[in-house]
Symmetry: C2
Subunit: 214 residues, 2 copies
């Protein structure tokens, strides 16, 4: 695989890459060393041509009539996504959703390791949630700085989202995975990814009502 051949991917392409990883990881390479775009497409109900286009951005090259080497392709996608080395993150807001995320075993597959969890409420601070001790907010800046962490997972209620984001940023965080339904104001250089359940539900609602009446 040739890393020079990595290209800039469109947003939809980036969104699909993790699904390819899921499919690829389910393949037993002892049994099946190579995989075709049509195999992946079939599993995910996509078109083979789209799968090939998406794969092309990672720089991974397949062979005519053979397909892609499974291990190569996994490596290429992980590398493209930056999931080849573990990235450390802190989580702020150990409510329902925050707890769920702390207990989510899938993150390791995404190269993400949550190394510390913080909360403002004295009721939660000090407790252990999924093997993670919940620390007071005041400890956050020091932790972020000392461990040189750049990513924060934000699972606080809407009304605190902006102020917590500000605090994360001033501590050195430059990537925020935002689960609160708030559009954050952030300075240049800070990347925010909004994870908003309502948009998914909106799509489901509309598609469902197009199919049949509620």
């Amino acid at each position: 695989m040739d890393y020079d051949k990595q290209k800039v991917a469109s947003l939809p392409t980036i969104r699909r890459l993790p699904a390819y990883l899921t499919v690829l990881r389910q393949i037993d390479t002892a049994d099946k060393e190579t995989v075709s775009s049509s195999y992946i497409a079939d599993k995910l109900k996509l078109e083979p041509i789209q799968v090939r286009k998406d794969i092309a951005v990672t720089g991974c090259e397949g062979r005519t009539k053979v397909g892609y080497l499974v291990t190569d392709l996994i490596d290429a996608i992980e590398r493209y996504l930056g999931w080849d080395s573990n990235k450390q993150a802190v989580l702020v807001g150990v409510g329902h959703l925050g707890s769920a995320l702390l207990g989510y075993p899938g993150f390791m597959k995404y190269g993400l390791q949550i190394v510390a969890a913080f909360d403002a409420s004295p009721k939660v601070v000090g407790s252990i949630v999924h093997d993670q001790k919940v620390l007071p907010m005041d400890d956050m800046p020091e932790t972020v700085q000392q461990l040189d962490i750049i990513m924060g997972v934000l699972t606080v209620p809407a009304e605190f989202a902006q102020s917590v984001a500000d605090k994360l940023i001033s501590s050195g965080i430059s990537a925020i995975w935002n689960f609160s339904p708030v559009t954050l104001e952030v300075p240049e250089g800070v990347v925010v990814q909004n994870e908003d359940l309502s948009s998914g539900l909106a799509v489901l609602s509309v598609r469902s009502s197009r199919t049949r009446k509620w």
Copy 2:
């Protein structure tokens, strides 16, 4: 507002509509009765022209130099999304994520009411999670049929996702909000919306590494 003027919206448009609702609901209509596309755009870091285009699909019409009537616009978007009347849903899989969703107060704003929660594990069945009694899986078909529920929220581990989906569908469910990282096989007429955290993280990872090195 003229419901005949509703149009078919593109997927990106549908995804943005809930964000408009969030902005609109924050407006105190005693203070401000109308809203312009540029106001909404500014709050969400979009372009006014895009906001107008999106609003157009709902059939809501604004007035030159004035903008849109806030209450009208809220009604139009809610109606477009089918969120004007409460839709009932069942949730299956009361693990970390399922519990978090049960406790999520935002659903009501999305016109969604989770009326029953089911789990296969005897450890969980019978317990109360966020005021919701967890019922055994065997009770699911009856509940779905009797209450004429068409939507299911699927928060079971990956390995059970397909079989639980099958069971939901055979009970009468025709819309599945799928939180497991599995591509479900469903018959014609059943709509599946995959809510996949990994794609959001992928976008964040790539955008972040474009900005600076990890």
